[in-house]
Point group: C2
Chain length 378, copies 2
């Protein structure tokens, strides 16, 4: 039996201690927008950290305001009786630093200037996010997470946690991720960034000063991204070569897939900040725990202390199964406990967000073991 979390309420948590960042910048103070689901047990041992991907946020499960709204981005996998069972776990989800959903980011006021950061927001990395998340754990009194889980860029955060704070992670679920980007991955991110930067309303990131947003460039960036999140198969099944829908604007459009992409781009550009998009893609590009192969991945992972679950999806070509298998191989070489499944899916990279019975069952089985390890009944 699974049920909905119902209406959930985010909380803005302030951190007044400065944070020095990996790439040289620093934040004098910052806020994190956080949601929690379930109840922290007396030993504070049942906490699960959920890390979001490129365009995600703190709203991972449940509903804001009413159940008629769109649920959180991982609502299918988080809730009472679900894979991440909120009857057992205390789930923590946050908008990462540099985000545009309430946490300190380019849209926030820089306390040192009294003006919004905009493009002057310092570069942040996966490691910086992990440090900020560790401070959030301290604030919540959580010494060790029972599990840290995430898909795509979120999976990279789970991986980084296992390396940086090995004693604070009981288990890590790394879904549809990669140990670092390929040249092709970086190339797609660069096209997305260039789409934004070439929008005349971008003004080198100072669009807020001109009371505009680079909606056209952000929309185009999202169109590129969206193609890489879907598979050739799923796009074929969804659209094929069918004609545009008549109930939507179709000017200059010949095929439904064109109309869909434009619509996706428009929706996204209205809700997502351009400077954040650039910053998030940069964080993806920079992520590389091997420090440009100066340390082999098995050696990097040799100090980890948690159990791992790695999941990939057959038609994911952004982070293909072979990329997940690089992580698995390195963990095996390092003698670490890892379960791995390559899941059949037609949905490409987006599969990590989409309801699927096998994915759900395997994810739940792993989380049930985490619960057992805490001394819980299954």
């Amino acid at each position: 039996m699974t049920a909905s979390l119902g209406v959930v309420t985010p909380e803005l948590i302030p951190f007044e201690t400065p944070l020095t960042l990996e790439r040289g910048g620093y934040l004098p103070r910052y806020d994190l927008m956080v949601e929690t689901y379930g109840t922290l047990d007396a030993h504070k041992s049942n906490a699960v950290l959920v890390c979001h991907a490129l365009s995600g946020d703190h709203h991972a499960a449940g509903y804001h305001e009413s159940e008629s709204n769109k649920p959180g981005w991982w609502n299918h996998y988080i809730g009472p009786g679900k894979s991440i069972d909120t009857d057992r776990f205390f789930v923590v989800s946050l908008n990462n630093l540099g985000g545009c959903s309430g946490s300190t980011g380019p849209l926030s006021i820089n306390p040192e200037t009294g003006k919004a950061y905009g493009p002057s927001f310092p570069e942040v990395t996966v490691l910086d996010w992990v440090h900020a998340q560790a401070r959030l754990a301290d604030h919540l009194g959580i010494e060790k997470f029972a599990a840290i889980v995430g898909g795509s860029l979120g999976g990279m955060q789970a991986l980084q946690w296992s390396i940086t704070y090995p004693e604070r992670v009981g288990a890590a679920a790394i879904i549809a991720a990669a140990p670092r980007l390929t040249a092709q991955n970086i190339a797609f991110n660069e096209v997305a960034r260039q789409a934004i930067m070439r929008d005349p309303n971008f003004f080198d990131g100072d669009y807020a000063d001109h009371d505009v947003i680079p909606a056209s460039g952000v929309g185009l960036a999202r169109m590129v991204g969206h193609i890489t999140y879907l598979s050739d198969v799923s796009m074929g099944e969804k659209f094929g070569r069918s004609l545009p829908r008549e109930d939507r604007d179709a000017e200059g459009v010949n095929f439904a897939v064109e109309q869909y992409l434009r619509y996706q781009g428009e929706q996204f550009s209205g809700r997502f900040d351009a400077n954040t998009y650039i910053l998030m893609t940069r964080a993806l590009d920079y992520f590389d725990p091997t420090l440009n192969e100066s340390i082999p991945l098995p050696e990097v992972l040799s100090t980890t202390q948690c159990k791992f679950l790695v999941l990939s999806f057959t038609t994911d070509w952004r982070f293909s199964p072979s990329r997940s298998e690089e992580i698995v191989d390195a963990l095996i070489q390092a003698g670490k406990p890892v379960s791995y499944t390559r899941l059949e899916s037609a949905h490409g990279h987006d599969a990590f967000l989409i309801p699927d019975a096998t994915y759900e069952r395997i994810f739940k089985a792993f989380m049930d073991r985490v619960h057992q390890d805490l001394g819980g009944n299954v």
Copy 2:
């Protein structure tokens, strides 16, 4: 022994009879920019038509002005002793209608208005190109081509010829092509078009009236295209995660692959017309000899009379081997003679342009048979 064709000279050939186009437009007259290599025999039986891809042109082999220049785009496969042996064949290569390399296209003057066509240039399709090429053949006195060959969009023209003018084609070589685009293919083309159309210098295609070109948008379109022409493997081998070259502009660039893509985009935007790019991608999108599956492909191919060579490349994900195999399967079902090879290559879709010993050998063997069928010695 292979040698260079040396310096070759294009010729502009006028056609004064109006051409009615598949999608409703027409051209009162037009010019085609044409190159020929080798000598047409007395029976005019040894002609080979070479069809270009999206951004190609008539300059398929040899050099313009001097051998220190860049050779034609298929120079490795066309010339004395090469796969398409100009000691045996009379090779005809042209810039297609709507192009920007001398043939009538958006940059040309519309005789009915006295102004450049610009965005008012009528939509052209692969079928229109084939009709225009047939008129070129008439002009040259060629009743039947010994072979029609092309890669990518060029392969689609060879396929269309075999369907539209079965009695005028002795053999067709269809390389790295597809019987029609998938939704993903169309989606990438749409992103490229949107990149151009969203450039404020595009002016709905009337940029010439404003004395500007939408260089930024065309460059971005080329960046997207370029990623899809290469493979993940070849990009990894060429760039990996290496840093930018210091001898080139690297502002805001973190990885060599970003620098390379921007450079490719800039080079392209200086030489290729935006309206032509849009028109060529539309022609790709429209190509569908099954007329949206109203006629099964084997039935469409049932009236063809030529021998076929179909070639694909293992890492080509723009037109993957399975797409070529759709053509092969349909030809087999239709009982037509077809040779097919899936060539090993790391170079993605671009492989059809790149020197490779196995590709060269198989292509040459097919063309040798064409020569034999004409009564020639091998």
